[in-house]
Symmetry: D2
Subunit: 346 residues, 4 copies
């Protein structure tokens, strides 16, 4: 049994980790750390755990908890704050999977520029492995610190990697129009996220400036070995979970729609968590609650555009599930252990 702890358990990502770890057959949960609610029993705060074997676990304060009995710690903390906590745990020789943006960039300058936060552990950032399994599987197996990818980024990269890697699209005209559920914003107590403001509403936000733009570009540039400037526009959906990205690219190859679909199927052959749909297009409900990414493809002859549609659950493949997939790799387990659920439907 892998002994794991969670730092920052009361956020949506922390709780989703707990939900998934609770049914993972090879995991024993040791410590749940929380800044604001230390001392409380998890089932008193979150009665969904009342019937669970974890019901009686109590949250612990950061300062008081001793994590040295853990094989692995998940840190689910805000950007900027995570840096230091990760470093502290890592220095104790414990493996860490970090959910924040703090260790996703080997090049600290890009991070500091887009996040406007100073990075105090640049050498650690260079050591961290970017945890997109489908891209970095072998590196992750040997890693001690994994930076779990951003949610929008995961949906976008899995959609774009095949055509970027194979050089089939014009890299100067990529448009990612992405839509996310509200859980992506975490438990923010802002007027914009209260029910009355969200239900029956829809909007774009952070247009031409969202941080995930830089993370998508950063990874694609490594793959393409050239600079990429793309458009990424996030929108807020009136629903809880899920990201759908509609991606517009100029295809620079003779392949038709079927050829492209075949190419994607080949690229992702053997992947447990990526499915290329054929004549159906992916919908959020096909993946919500699961670690799956589903991808659909349409080629528009009139304009020569390839439209790629990609869906994930932002809290699973976009966060907690992908983190557990990383954990499975780190500890030599079958990659889909504890992650074989199908979507929560209806």
């Amino acid at each position: 049994m892998i002994k794991v702890s969670i730092v920052g358990v009361t956020g949506y990502v922390g709780l989703e980790l707990l939900r998934l770890l609770q049914i993972h057959p090879e995991v024993e949960v040791k410590h749940l750390l929380s800044r604001s609610q230390a001392g409380e029993r998890i089932a008193d705060l979150y009665p969904q755990f009342a019937g669970s074997s974890l019901a009686d676990l109590r949250l612990e304060a950061y300062e008081e908890a001793d994590l040295t009995d853990s094989d692995l710690v998940f840190t689910a903390l805000p950007h900027g704050i995570s840096q230091r906590e990760v470093a502290k745990i890592y220095k104790q020789g414990i493996k860490v999977i970090d959910m924040s943006g703090d260790y996703r960039y080997g090049d600290i300058e890009v991070y500091e520029n887009w996040y406007q936060i100073k990075h105090e552990f640049p050498e650690l950032a260079r050591e961290a492995v970017y945890g997109l399994v489908e891209l970095n599987r072998e590196k992750i197996k040997k890693a001690s610190l994994v930076a779990n990818p951003g949610c929008y980024v995961t949906a976008s990269l899995l959609a774009l990697l095949p055509v970027v890697e194979k050089g089939l699209i014009n890299l100067d005209n990529i448009i990612i129009d992405a839509k996310s559920g509200v859980s992506g914003a975490g438990k923010s107590l802002k007027e914009a996220f209260i029910y009355n403001e969200v239900n029956e509403n829809f909007k774009a936000y952070s247009v031409a400036g969202h941080r995930h733009t830089s993370e998508i570009e950063y990874v694609l540039e490594e793959v393409a070995r050239q600079e990429i400037n793309l458009i990424f526009t996030p929108h807020l959906l009136p629903l809880k979970r899920g990201i759908l990205a509609t991606i517009y690219t100029d295809l620079s190859t003779g392949l038709d729609e079927d050829g492209i679909i075949d190419l994607y199927r080949e690229y992702y052959a053997g992947e447990a968590f990526v499915q290329i749909l054929g004549d159906k297009l992916p919908e959020l409900k096909y993946v919500v609650g699961t670690n799956n990414c589903q991808i659909g493809l349409k080629y528009d002859k009139r304009t020569g555009k390839l439209i790629i549609i990609s869906v994930i659950d932002n809290l699973v493949k976009g966060a907690a599930g992908q983190a557990i997939q990383n954990m499975n790799l780190l500890f030599g387990l079958k990659e889909d252990t504890g992650l074989t659920q199908t979507a929560f439907y209806p």
Copy 2:
């Protein structure tokens, strides 16, 4: 491995059975029967199964499928239609768990009166065991045909059994004000269930006439050994899953609120799927996606009323999950095998 098949797999209950069985460690799914979509691959119809080990299963027509290799068949069919299919399968010596109302009443007259359908297999109805595990555990273990309880009924009975069995309330003044999500209506293609008619709407329906009234009374009368006429009012919530029942009773005992809570805790001690909350009241989000029933209790001194609030997921504890709980009993498995998930949150 238990070999199971599902008749009527494309309804919400059938698909929920498949979702849960897919991760059940002791089950092998053999046949999926469907009237309208025989021949199709399950993952083509329901792409949420595209990444699953069941992806390539094909639906079979009723007439053509040979179920004799199954240890157990779940029938998820409309009331009235289920009767005959159940009988047909049962006569082949296969165990059956029926999700419809057809075999829930040993007394055919009550059934025929409330359902306005003739019952053609009265002897089989008498043989069937009513599958509310918390009430009938020992009988179920020896059963060959289990009638899985109604969703509203499950939420209501678990809330009322302790006080009715112990004779602590006035049986002439029980009011059940129940609220259900839309999945309770199945995939009905009626104007009343299209999105535009449901979202931002709320209504009562079948007031003073819903069939589940009779099922609640039928079971409670056996427990109380006296006639009971109660009020049951269902409402349609603008959400997909979940039932919350607010139950009003006149307490005829000297117990205070704490005493009542203790009594419920004792009554359900050892039950894996019933949790009595203390100072928090249950909410749908604590149980959605799980086989749990959570119960909260308030005593109003000013009026002498005990208010019982009970929540379940209508598709899990109210249908597919309870059916699998029954299956586990039938086959000597630990009762919570495959059913230990915590709620889908947020």
Copy 3:
């Protein structure tokens, strides 16, 4: 033209007043007061007013605004805070319609007991007229200070007045099971009201203790001239607007369902905003966006219970619309002026 101002315009009730007053043919809006956002242009804060004739109005601070050019001020402030603001304005000889609970009880003791707030203007509370038009029309016409009724209270009283006034029910066994949309909670920045916590969720709250219990009892006791203790249970619906109350009473008369329906129709004959539905039961979508209350009635022979179902829009008939109805009376206008919209559907 009636010159009106709003104190507390940025809450949901304040903004709903503005939405309705903006299309009222006899009203000129003078001042919009706000504690937190003084100086801002209304259309910059709430772009829904960008195309309106009011777009350029600027919010004013309480201390700086001179309201003496107003014929009427609506105060839309939290309970407790409203007391003093109302008194201040009233003393300047301006008519006031107060949306809070502060002036709804002539008997200060009841208020102080249920609200746990000291009332500093008891004489003014006695002078205020309770603004349920269908009950107090003649008094309102001559009033200078109107206490606009609570939202749950409006739905409950309109449903109960006919049978209570005529003595047709047992007053010791009234149960009001009420369900409200989230706008009833105002713009509270609490975790419980963020989208992720509300959508696909449902719960009861303030069971056996909500303040509106006292307001319903207070008014009914005056009508019935006897003490009444009833049960009022509010629930939170995953929708924005609307209250549906399901009310259970013991009928103590020989009338059948049709007789009761006739009695209600007679009682509310001539009322512009109360409709008694016949064989259809009321749904929220029939009244959302309007000042209407719709009532449905079912008699259950088996138990002798009369079930009354009542629906309103909590922000219109339960707040801003009823306030404008009161305003129309105060200024001798036709009672439905500016309030003749039909429901926002779908």
Copy 4:
């Protein structure tokens, strides 16, 4: 008073027309025609009209109704079916505003190609005026038959007209990523539109093939006097009303963001129903329930793209409201008569 009738009143567009006409100060509603529910009282079918002055109107069958006392008929019928009904009414010398796609193309070939329906009244199609008021105001004033624009088309054209007319963008790389609420699909009784399938779901549909592509191109080509092939991708939002279009274009001019915003403000100066927002981006909740279109603009220096965001209520500015705006023009009324509501919020 203008005497108007509605053919096809029981669809969402027909009912929205009735909702808006009911409060229009210059309109008298004469006939409501319905194929399926002739003979019924409108308030019995749609109890939201129970308190309205129109409550007692009865639906009439097509064959039996005599529309010759109407000054204007709105036809709210499915594409293909509308053709003939419009022609029949028009030939009686009655003005018609048609909500379908049948008369939107002077060039019948384009219509027949994209709709795959034969047009039997080509001369009438050439006579019809396309009812986008902001483009065709003067022509509409003199028209007898107005083809009301499509909902997606309205949102897209109002966003694109300024830059297309002034030649400021590359016409070969226009991408319209549009998202609509479910009411856009009408009352379709298809599984895809039932509540359980829509809530908490999101998807693209008709990718690279939606008919509105042709309508957008058709109008823009007339304005630009050159062929245009653009990408239009519709998505289904889990909400009832509203369209948001995110439009990506390559700006071919030296203007910066402020310059573009000024240009749009100038272009739409004097328009009652188009608002250019400044530093806020438009959200659906700013326009739902109104005839307004709000537009926001962002220029992304890194890629040289202009991102235009446009929002409307698909049933109002995208259908019934725009139709009434057209009616006001046809009959010489002030263009915003009966249409001055602000958004339904929250």
